[in-house]
Symmetry: C2
């Protein structure tokens, strides 16, 4: 406090050869905490610039904006040998390279860990894969939805909703992006102790299968199994936001204290003695009746009325937020999660602030997601590539050379 | 590789004061890569030991097994002053403390970052919270379901399935646990550079709201908005595993090349020229017809037949796995994700292996999730607490002193 704070990842250079979601999620975290992230884009740019929806410029979709702040953009036409050589020179000078190509493509491009460690022994090389290299799907294409379908997420939806379906988020991409951050940071810590670089492989299918099964392998964890897969505690169709007089409320009353508080709240303290509801085990045996009781009782008052009553009786409850109401949730406003920002080309936008806080380390100052190739010239110069080469590299991308920002 | 590999987090001591899911997810990752994780349990034990389902011993549910390997268990009765003092002595000698208490309870227990940094300036203190301390929900209780309901997850389910509902996983707990790992590892890296400890706060609601909205704030990211929330690319009710003659298949054919391959696969190459289907934009405008076409065509052959055809034509497709079929998926078997292990009290169980690989760093040897208090005596001795004190501490927990493992 009072002293000048330093960002934890200050001085770390990251070469980001990824696009769309899984890689950008990972590198944005690094950028948010002070790493210099150089996003390499093909001349047509990261697909997500357009795929993520409309935008004022047509090249800065909302999803792109939320996953690419605090990065610099360099365009290279990697179909040319000059650009391949330039890329290798960048690889030789950074701390971290993140790629999401299939194993065969990575080999063809000469960008495997083995290729790069010879020119940069301290390099941390993070390879995002659909499927581990030792399994038969290794070179198959991976997309979020098919990973959800193959990893058990769609099966969990089936068990809950009666038909295989996806969770309507790019949940596999997003989650594996978070996991990649862990692995990269662990390798940075390791390097601080040993001086040694690291080659990391992160397969999406295996990560999501592990994520789902930690929870839902359930009684088949035991051999012989003690019962089936799937934790029934999340499976009842009534485990969902519950209707009130004017909307929905989210309620969790599982312990005796909470359930008894709930019985008091609805004016039926006698249920504490009811053999169906008097203990955790009894309520578990009578889940359906307990949930029916809740859904009938909650219709009597408004969400706000119930929240006041439950708060006094220490029954865990929260308002149900729609995507529309969430930014106006009073707590979310208190903490300033959504921040108005002026983007140089997109006008006023809402940035999603960092949810977590550090007492000593600083986060990076916000810098807006970059225009395609905005930093090509400046970055190539900083990495020691001379002016003639830079001109040729830019010319091969079809972009015009921009003179700003090179000093 | 011939050389003896070293686990990246070897030498790091973690005091884990958490229970159930969010904290244990985080500390298990640290344990899996070599940190010494000491799990502090109350005399009744982590709730998840029983709450996570049946087990041979009755105290090692499947969920507990999947989140607590490679840890040691120490039981303390923190209602006694002696145990509180012993805990402080442990806090003074570790690298990381992880807590998930509400702010007021943390203050009462004297376990805030400010309390502990005076006795351990290099300490990394990670506080898992339901809600950030600067917002009005700060001291409310948090559970996975109500966080899902308040953070927009239940709203996304509503937009897809027509009614607010939860994703049938403890998705908020699990995801925030992964995020906690990032923050802890970043602080460890930071400390390696500056020598300074760190106080981290990780609020669940804000993290999950950011997770959802990065994807689904969508056209409301712009001010004035260019349209509504929610990315329509995941919203069509037909965006789900598709029925075949004998089951389901997961298909992703979005680019022209993939869609055209799909038209070849179903024997209708003329659709490549059809004005409804000839480009990404055309198919987007005719999403419903494109999906109807897919669901009709796929009924003609079995899943395995389609997989063979799609593979040849480079159309991304995968088998749909149920929770039951997943462990037998041939790729999952190739990589050995599920490993048979013999647990000392639970008999044969399936451990979920580490999905990611490191070229240089080692992961920890598997050690089974501990019996309640298995390491109390050994750990307390290692931390310099004398035999009489240890005896008194154990006696106050109601457990018997165990003589094994203390040397």
């Amino acid at each position: 406090m009072g002293n000048t704070k330093r960002a934890p990842l200050q001085g770390i250079k990251v070469l980001d050869l990824t696009s769309v979601v899984v890689g950008p999620v990972a590198t944005q975290f690094l950028a948010d905490y002070g790493a210099e992230v150089i996003k390499i884009e093909a001349p047509e740019g990261d697909l997500l610039r357009k795929l993520g929806g409309a935008s004022p410029s047509g090249t800065m979709s909302a999803k792109f904006l939320h996953l690419n702040r605090n990065k610099r953009s360099v365009v290279l036409n990697l179909k040319t040998d000059e650009a391949k050589r330039a890329l290798k020179r960048l690889c030789a000078q950074v701390d971290v390279v993140v790629v999401n190509m299939r194993p065969k493509a990575l080999e063809r491009a000469g960008l495997t860990y083995d290729d790069l460690k010879t020119i940069n022994p301290r390099l941390i090389h993070c390879s995002l894969l659909g499927f581990g290299r030792k399994g038969r799907y290794a070179n198959r294409p991976a997309y979020d939805s098919i990973i959800q379908g193959a990893s058990g997420i769609a099966s969990v939806v089936d068990k809950m909703y009666g038909q295989p379906g996806y969770v309507p988020m790019v949940m596999a991409d997003h989650t594996v992006g978070l996991i990649a951050v862990q692995m990269i940071l662990m390798a940075l810590y390791q390097r601080s102790q040993t001086g040694e670089g690291e080659g990391i492989e992160i397969p999406m299918l295996e990560n999501m299968a592990a994520f789902v099964m930690a929870e839902h392998m359930y009684l088949r964890t035991f051999d012989p199994p003690l019962g089936g897969n799937f934790d029934p505690r999340v499976s009842d169709p009534q485990t969902r936001p519950i209707k009130t007089k004017d909307g929905y409320i989210c309620l969790s009353a599982n312990t005796d204290r909470q359930a008894f508080g709930f019985f008091d709240a609805i004016g039926h303290p006698e249920l504490k003695e009811d053999s169906r509801f008097c203990s955790v085990a009894a309520r578990f045996r009578h889940t359906r009746e307990y949930f029916d009781l809740r859904s009938t009782a909650l219709l009597e008052k408004t969400t706000q009325e119930w929240l006041g009553i439950f708060d006094e009786l220490s029954v865990p409850a929260m308002p149900y937020n729609t995507l529309e109401s969430l930014p106006d949730d009073p707590h979310i406003r208190d903490v300033g999660l959504f921040q108005p920002i002026r983007h140089p080309t997109e006008g006023d936008i809402w940035n999603i602030g960092l949810p977590n806080t550090l007492r000593n380390g600083a986060s990076a100052e916000y810098s807006p997601p970059p225009a395609l190739g905005a930093d090509t010239q400046a970055v190539l110069k900083e990495f020691g590539i001379d002016a003639d080469e830079i001109a040729a590299l830019i010319s091969s991308t079809g972009q015009r050379q921009v003179s700003s920002g090179s000093d």
